[in-house]
Structures are given as structure tokens and as C-alpha cells.
């Protein structure tokens, strides 16, 4: 359903249909008004400034080679929060981060950073912004011919640390990211995951108050990922605002205070993970674990039932998740199936779909 609506909206807008006319057309076609409005206007409406904003983006637009990457984005990041950005590839996540970092200038609008010295336009005071923030890009940004410690020392000193302070900071960061044993190894000789950790350490070397991270846990194994989230959480607790763009939606769901969903160059929705689940999911999720694990039979059984409104079934780790608009009826049907088959019902849970599932629902 979301697919159909999305492709129709995109097609109509690209053909030049006015937004108001498109809105009326969709409503007349029977689409719920709230959904239509979300698709058409979300992320473009002016924000209400908050008192503790860290970053405020107002009316940001950016076009690369005729392609609109950001389209009238309004977004506010609050001090001390961990803000996650999700969206499909090419949705503008990285551009948004680069614009906050001052690496890309908006065609329209402005990014304002609320620094200790007062609000500063990133466009006008890029140096002030850079001292304030750390940035870890998708690809590690390191000098491959320098050692791990030399990289940290160089960036630390370039940010104004004395040699001694930079050395001390490097040592503590290397311990933090688990690279203490590789301080004399050239960056080019590190594995991808180690480079990623070193890159994050470099982003942290000057104790930034704002940390921008683009896919920080890519290339990291589960253990390191967990460790890194712990590190970031610790850093956040010290008052550092963190903005993360990532595809690891499950991690973001558990890690971020708020999440922004980007679609077609716009921030389609922002909110806590729970708020997003409420907003975007009309279905609930029934998670079932049968002793026989005969989930194909279960799905066939459920599909034969009337009015269950089964939207999607997902088999995962010995369980099956059934997204449905009629959770009570679906529960009853599952119980009936297990009773008929004399199967053991090991686990039964009803809840909202995860953000990842929402993401998949929205974008696939």
C-alpha cells in the first residue's frame, strides 16, 4: 500500500502536478487524509524552535547535478540527545550530516549551531563549528601512512591540543576503542573494523560537543558494535549531542532518543522509536514460537481465515512474526491451529513492529 502511494506521489510530483491538487486527488481516491498529508508535507512544515536546540536546520534545500537531494528540510536537534537518521540510500542522510558539518553549503536555508558562544550560522562560521563537533564519515578518514597514534596525535594537535595532551588523549581513546595494542601500526595495515574505530577515536580526539556519525558501526562485528554503542552512550552521558545516520535500525531503535526518517530529500518523520511505531504501523505484530515449527502450515491456516488482515509474515530465528490489523482474531486463530495440530505453543507475544520492520514496510 505504501509502495503504491509513494510511487504515485513521486510520479505525479515529477510530472508537475501541484501539491494541493495531488492531495485532493488522493483523498478522493479513498486514501486516509492523515497518510496523504504525511506523504505530501511531512518534514517541510516550519518547526517550532525549542530553547535547548543544538542544531536547527531551516528550509534547507540542496541540488546536485539537477537532482534535488534535500528539499526544504526543517529539523532541530536538541542538546544532549542521540538523534538517528534513517532512510534509503540516496535519501540525503550523508548530505544532511555534511551540511551540519559545513562541508556542503545549502542552496537555500541555513544551518544554525547553538554553540557556547551563541548561535552561529555554519555557513558563516565554519571554523567555530568544526572546533565544536566531531565527524566520523562512512569511510574512515585517516592518513594511511601514519600510525594509529600519529593519526590521533596529528588531529589532536591540529585541534589545538598540546603534544602532551594529544598523546594522553590518544592513549585514552585508543583504550576506549580497543586499539591500545596497535598504536604503532600504520592505519593502512588495520582491518576495516579497526580503521572504523580509529576514525571514531579521531572524531572524538578534541572532545566535541556535537558528534556526527555516518554509519559508525558498519564493518563492525556484533561485539564491537555493542561496545561502540556503549562508548557512545557514555560519551552522550557527558553531554555530547550525537547525530547518527545508520542502516542498523535495530541498534538505532534501542540507542537513539529520537529518529528522523528521510525520504525523497525530506525528513518525513521525526520522533522517538515508539512514536514512529505508533505513527507508521497500523498493524500489530504477533510473535509465535511453535514446538513443531510448522510455520508454513500456520500461515496457510491463517490465510484461510476470514478478516484476519494479515499484512506480512516473517520467519526469524525459530519464530514467526505475523503483522496483522486484527491481532485478537489472529491470536485466536493461532491458538486454534496449535490446538488442532496438538502442537506445543512455546511463545506467544503481541506488540508493535520494530523500526526496522517499519522501515521495510515504508520503503520496500
Amino acid at each position: 500500500m505504501a509502495d503504491v502511494l509513494q510511487s504515485f506521489v513521486q510520479s505525479s510530483l515529477s510530472k508537475g502536478m501541484p501539491q494541493g491538487e495531488l492531495e485532493q486527488t488522493l483523498i478522493k481516491a479513498g486514501w486516509p487524509k492523515d497518510i496523504v498529508l504525511k506523504y505530501l508535507h511531512k518534514g517541510t512544515e516550519p518547526i517550532t524552535p525549542s530553547k535547548n536546540a543544538q542544531i536547527r536546520m531551516q528550509g534547507i534545500s540542496k541540488t546536485f547535478d539537477g537532482k534535488k537531494v534535500l528539499d526544504n528540510v526543517n529539523l532541530e536537534i536538541v542538546q544532549g540527545e542521540i538523534f538517528g537518521i534513517i532512510g534509503q540510500s540516496g535519501s540525503g542522510k550523508t548530505t544532511l550530516l555534511q551540511m551540519i558539518a559545513g562541508l556542503v553549503q545549502p542552496d537555500r536555508g541555513d544551518v544554525v549551531a547553538f554553540l557556547p558562544a551563541g548561535p552561529q550560522s555554519v555557513r558563516q562560521s565554519p571554523e567555530a563549528m568544526r572546533s565544536f563537533m566531531g565527524y566520523a564519515a562512512q569511510q574512515p578518514s585517516l592518513y594511511p601512512d601514519l600510525t594509529v597514534e600519529e593519526n590521533l596525535m596529528h588531529f589532536g594537535q591540529a585541534f589545538g591540543l598540546s603534544e602532551r595532551a594529544a598523546r594522553q588523549k590518544a592513549a585514552s581513546l585508543l583504550k576506549l576503542v580497543g586499539l591500545a595494542d596497535t598504536r604503532s601500526v600504520r592505519a593502512s595495515n588495520l582491518s576495516g573494523g579497526m580503521q572504523k574505530r580509529l576514525d571514531i577515536a579521531c572524531a572524538l580526539v578534541h572532545d566535541p560537543k556535537l558528534l556526527l556519525m555516518d554509519e559508525p558501526v558498519a564493518d563492525l562485528d556484533v561485539v564491537l558494535r555493542t561496545h561502540l554503542w556503549d562508548v557512545l552512550r557514555a560519551i552522550n552521558k557527558q553531554g555530547t549531542t550525537i547525530i547518527i545516520a545508520s542502516h542498523f535500525l535495530a541498534d538505532l531503535e534501542s540507542f537513539c532518543d529520537r529518529i528522523g526518517i528521510m525520504r525523497n530529500g525530506r525528513v518525513a518523520e521525526t520522533g522517538t522509536p515508539d512514536e514512529l511505531r505508533v505513527i507508521y504501523s497500523r498493524n500489530q505484530e504477533v510473535k509465535v514460537e511453535l514446538g513443531s515449527r510448522a510455520y508454513d502450515d500456520l500461515v496457510t491456516f491463517l490465510k484461510r481465515q476470514q478478516n484476519l488482515e494479515i499484512a506480512k509474515t516473517i520467519k526469524e530465528l525459530g519464530t514467526i512474526k505475523i503483522q496483522t490489523g486484527q491481532p485478537t482474531a489472529t491470536l485466536e486463530a493461532v491458538l486454534q491451529f496449535s490446538k488442532q495440530r496438538k502442537d506445543t505453543l512455546l511463545h506467544l507475544e503481541v506488540g508493535r513492529p520494530s523500526v526496522r520492520e517499519l522501515f521495510e514496510e515504508l520503503f520496500t
Binding site: S131, Y135, S141, L142, Y143, D145, H154, G160, C202
Partner: protein
């Protein structure tokens, strides 16, 4: 540490972290100078090949060939001139010497030297060697010829001097002879030898005066006889001196002898003693005397005729002698002119005549080999290409480095980043300069020139680095930057004094080329390094101005380009 130094240090460190880069940036210039130092120890021509063709072998041509061979040049003889020239075209020989004509001493000789100007680097030593050999032989030949000429002239002068004395003697003799002939002619001019015989008849022997009259007659007769004798002697002499035939001379001499006898008789006749002065005797004596006088008179008349003829003859001789004297005077004048002309030739040294101006090339440096040329040249080349390549490569490698994003996010102003590139580049080129100067100092022993040369090298480096930075700012791809730098470097090298002397090129081009840092730098490095000339620092003033202009352009671009890139 200030951000500028931190960035510069990092640029140098990242650049030198690669062994290949260290090798390229430091070891190659060092090796280059060391090789040049050892290899350019001599300017040997042992590998230089010269083809020779001679239309007819001569001692002179063989001698020239021998001299060239002694210079170390390898000689190959060809049968035809075309073969010899073709060998140069095909690269078998570096030059062809063609001896045209007989090529003998004393002849007008032409030597054709066929060279291949495309082999510019070989032209100088080749021509130097051949010119040296040919000049030596030409000097020798010229000296031989001059010696011959000078010897001949000296001989002429000696001869003239010798003959001049003879001419003077001859002149004197002829003069004397003329004078004598003149005197003789005068002497034999018929005198008044006539004696009035009537005197005798007028003597009045009866009178008282006859004794006195007789004495007067006798005295006159004696005087006449003596006079006649004198004249006869003169005539005899004149006959001997005359150009008359021997027969005539004999005839005349016979008459003179006869006349002489008559004169003697007459003298005897006049010798009358007092005792004879008696009237009787006297009358006889007088008659006899008168008769003698008559005879003598006839003889005198005959002699007078001879005398007239002789006088005419002697006058003719004198005229001829006078004419000879004139001719001899002219001859003497000619001799004097020749002597004066010979004496006007003040240069008598054959060496000075054969080579009135001797060119002796005196090197102003202690070294006479290629090092003095090669070291400044190589230094400029190294700095030129390093300066053009290092900054753009530093800038582009920084931009394309994985760390580019993080570097871009440093809170450092773009101008400081540009300064850091400059500082890192000048540090690298400074190290190169120092290394090269140490090597140059060791080989050339020019320690006094090292400090001014280092300053010059740094100024040259600074300007070239600024040009390199411009390339790095305008070109974003490494390959393109390298190509641009190399092409620009080659252009600057070609438009420098190192390959073609700029002063030999059209003036407008020469003036344009003078703006080339390689030209100004090359000259300044040469004078400062070889002669320790601090004044060369003044000559790089133009470079400093050029550098200032470049710096301004870079600052403007450094401000504009990041803004453009962000968009």
C-alpha cells in the same frame, strides 16, 4: 605547536613515510650530484668519433689528423667525402673533416667540417677539440710561412745595406773620375802655346838692348817648352783615359812623343849660356831656335788639334759619367726607400706575424671540467622539477587522501593550509638544496659560495614552489598535475641558458625568457656557488617580485576555490 607547523610537519612526514618518495626526493638528487661529481671529472673525448676524408694526403693534413688524435678523438678515414658526410648523418661519426685540395703548406687550404647540430651537447667539446687542433696546426704553418718571409726580408735588407756601400763608393769613384776628366779636359785645352817668331827677328843684335831681348826670348822659349811638356803629359794622360781606339791612341802617342822630343830640344835650345851670348853664336842660336820654334809650332798645332779632339772626347765621357751618377743616385734613392720600407716593418717575430692575436682561454674557476657547468645546471633541474611536482602532489594527495574529509574539518583557515603546503615544500626543497650544495662543495671546493648559493636556491625554490602550488590549485587530478608540471618544467628548461644561449636568440624572445626562474636562478646559483658572489642575491630580486605576484594569486585562488568547491 602552531597549526601551520603541525600541518607542514604532517605533509613532510606523510611524504617521506614512503621509501620510494624518500628515494625520489632526497636520494635521487644526491645520487645525481655524486654521479656528476665523479663522472664529470674530465672532459675526455675518447668516445668522440670523427670521420676524415682527404682529397690528397699531405704532410699538413696528416699532421692535423695526428693532432686531433692526440686530443683523444677516434679517427676513421673515408674514401669519399659523401661517405664521410653520410656517416655523420647516420650517427656513425660525430663529425666529418674534409681536406679540400692539395692541403699543402703555402697553398690556400680549405677545411670543411661537417657537424650534426642536432647533437647539441656534443657540438661544444667536439668543436673545441677540433678548433684547438686546427688552430695549433694553422699557427704552426703560419709561423713557418712568416719565418720564411721575415728571413727573406732580412736578407734583402742586409743585401741592400751591403750594396748601398758599393753604390756610394761607385758614386764617389764616378764623381772623382768625372772631376778628373773635367780637370783633364780643362788641362788639355789648347793653351796659348804659340810663340811669336818675329821676336827673334826683332832682336837688334847691334843694339844695346839685344841681350835683354835675347834673355826674354830664351825665357819665353823655356816657358813655352815647359808648358808644352806639361800639356804633352796631360795629353798623354788624356789619350790613355780616352775612349779612342788603340790605333788612334798609338798614333796620338807617337805625335805626343815627337812633340815631347821637340819640347825637350826646344828646352835645350833655350838653354844658352852667357858665353853663347855673343853676336856670332847668338845669331846662329837664334836662327836655330827660330827654326825649332817653327817646327815646334807645327807640332804644337798638330797637338792642339789632338787636344781639341781629346777634350771633346773627355767631355763626352764626363757627360756619360754625370748621367751614370744620376742613375746611381736614383738607385741609391731606391735602396734608401727599400731600407726605409724594411725598417718600417717593426714586427719581425714570425710568431707575432702568424698569430698577431692569441686567444688563450683562461678559466675563472679552479675547475676546468664539466662540473662547474653541470652542478649549477643539475641543481636548477632538480629544484625546478621538485618545485613544480612536490607542491601539487602534496596538495592533490592531501585532497585525495582518505584523511581529506577529516583534514577539511580541521578548524584551520584555508590560507594556513596553503602556507603549510608551501612550508612543507620549501623544507623538502631546502633539504635537497643543502644536500646538493654539500656535494658541490666537496667536489668544487667552493665553501665560500655555499651560503649565498643556499639563499639563492631557497629563493628559486620558493618561486618554483609557488608555481607548483598554482598547478596544484588549478588541477585536481594527480596525473594531469604531474603532466602539467613536467611540461612546464621542460618549457622552462628549454627557455633557459642551459641548452641554448639566450643571448643568441631574438631579442624579444631573450627578454621574455629572462623572466624564467630557471634563467635567473641558474645564473645566480652559478655566480654565487662558483665565486661566492653575494651580489648574485640582488639578481634574484626579480624572482622575489615574481614570487610575490604568484603568492597574491595563490591567496586569491586559495580563498575562492574552497568556496567554489563547497558549492
Amino acid at each position: 605547536m602552531k597549526p601551520l607547523l603541525i600541518l607542514a610537519k604532517n605533509h613532510v612526514r606523510t611524504l617521506l613515510r614512503s621509501r620510494a618518495t624518500v628515494l625520489t626526493v632526497l636520494a635521487v638528487p644526491l645520487a645525481l650530484l655524486l654521479i656528476a661529481g665523479f663522472v664529470f671529472d674530465t672532459s675526455s673525448l675518447h668516445r668522440v668519433r670523427v670521420g676524415v676524408w682527404s682529397s690528397s694526403a699531405s704532410e699538413l693534413s696528416e699532421s692535423i689528423i695526428s693532432t686531433i688524435q692526440q686530443e683523444g678523438v677516434t679517427i676513421h678515414q673515408y674514401n669519399t667525402q659523401d661517405e664521410c658526410v653520410d656517416a655523420v648523418k647516420q650517427g656513425d661519426q660525430h663529425a666529418c673533416l674534409a681536406f679540400i685540395g692539395t692541403f699543402a703548406r703555402g697553398a690556400s687550404n680549405t677545411l670543411h667540417l661537417y657537424v650534426d647540430p642536432s647533437r647539441t651537447s656534443l657540438m661544444h667539446p667536439l668543436l673545441q677539440a677540433l678548433e684547438s687542433a686546427l688552430a695549433i696546426r694553422a699557427d704552426e704553418v703560419g709561423k713557418d710561412l712568416a719565418t720564411t718571409v721575415v728571413s727573406a726580408l732580412q736578407k734583402i735588407r742586409d743585401t741592400v745595406e751591403l750594396r748601398k756601400g758599393a753604390v756610394i763608393t761607385l758614386t764617389t769613384s764616378i764623381n772623382g773620375a768625372g772631376h778628373s776628366v773635367g780637370q783633364l779636359a780643362t788641362a788639355i785645352t789648347p793653351a796659348n802655346t804659340t810663340l811669336d817668331a818675329t821676336i827673334a827677328s826683332d832682336i837688334d843684335l847691334a843694339g844695346t838692348q839685344h841681350t835683354q831681348q835675347v834673355e826674354e826670348l830664351l825665357n819665353a822659349t823655356t816657358e813655352l817648352a815647359e808648358d808644352l811638356q806639361d800639356q804633352l803629359e796631360a795629353v798623354d794622360f788624356a789619350i790613355n783615359s780616352s775612349t779612342l781606339s788603340n790605333t788612334s791612341k798609338q798614333s796620338l802617342r807617337a805625335q805626343v812623343a815627337n812633340a815631347t822630343v821637340l819640347a825637350e830640344d826646344l828646352l835645350d835650345e833655350a838653354n844658352i849660356t852667357t858665353s853663347d851670348l855673343t853676336v856670332v853664336n847668338l845669331t846662329g842660336k837664334i836662327d836655330s831656335l827660330v827654326a825649332k820654334l817653327a817646327t815646334t809650332k807645327a807640332s804644337i798645332d798638330a797637338i792642339a788639334a789632338v787636344q781639341g779632339s781629346l777634350a771633346a772626347n773627355l767631355h763626352a765621357i764626363k757627360s756619360k759619367l754625370d748621367a751614370s751618377l744620376l742613375t746611381i743616385a736614383e738607385l741609391q734613392k731606391a735602396f734608401n726607400d727599400i731600407t726605409a720600407a724594411l725598417e718600417s716593418v717593426t714586427v719581425t717575430d714570425p710568431d707575432a706575424i702568424a698569430a698577431p692575436v692569441k686567444t688563450v682561454i683562461m678559466p675563472v674557476t679552479s675547475e676546468t671540467n664539466y662540473r662547474t657547468y653541470a652542478f649549477p645546471f643539475l641543481m636548477v633541474i632538480v629544484l625546478l622539477f621538485s618545485g613544480l611536482l612536490v607542491p601539487p602532489l602534496l596538495m592533490i594527495s592531501e585532497q585525495s587522501s582518505p584523511a581529506a574529509l577529516r583534514a577539511a574539518l580541521l578548524p584551520i583557515k584555508p590560507i594556513v593550509k596553503l602556507q603549510a603546503f608551501f612550508l612543507a615544500s620549501i623544507a623538502i626543497l631546502g633539504a635537497q638544496s643543502l644536500l646538493m650544495l654539500i656535494v658541490a662543495g666537496l667536489f668544487l671546493q667552493v665553501w665560500a659560495g655555499l651560503l649565498p648559493a643556499l639563499i639563492v636556491l631557497l629563493v628559486v625554490s620558493a618561486v618554483v614552489i609557488l608555481i607548483g602550488m598554482l598547478i596544484g590549485m588549478l588541477v585536481s587530478r594527480e596525473l594531469l598535475a604531474v603532466l602539467t608540471s613536467i611540461i612546464l618544467g621542460v618549457i622552462m628548461l628549454v627557455l633557459s641558458d642551459f641548452i641554448i644561449p639566450l643571448d643568441t636568440l631574438p631579442r624579444w624572445f631573450s627578454v621574455l625568457a629572462q623572466l624564467n626562474p630557471a634563467v635567473i636562478g641558474g645564473e645566480a646559483i652559478r655566480t654565487s656557488l662558483l665565486f661566492g658572489d653575494w651580489g648574485s642575491l640582488l639578481s634574484v630580486g626579480a624572482l622575489i617580485i615574481v614570487g610575490g605576484v604568484l603568492a597574491v594569486i595563490i591567496l586569491v585562488l586559495g580563498h575562492a576555490i574552497p568556496q567554489l568547491r563547497k558549492r
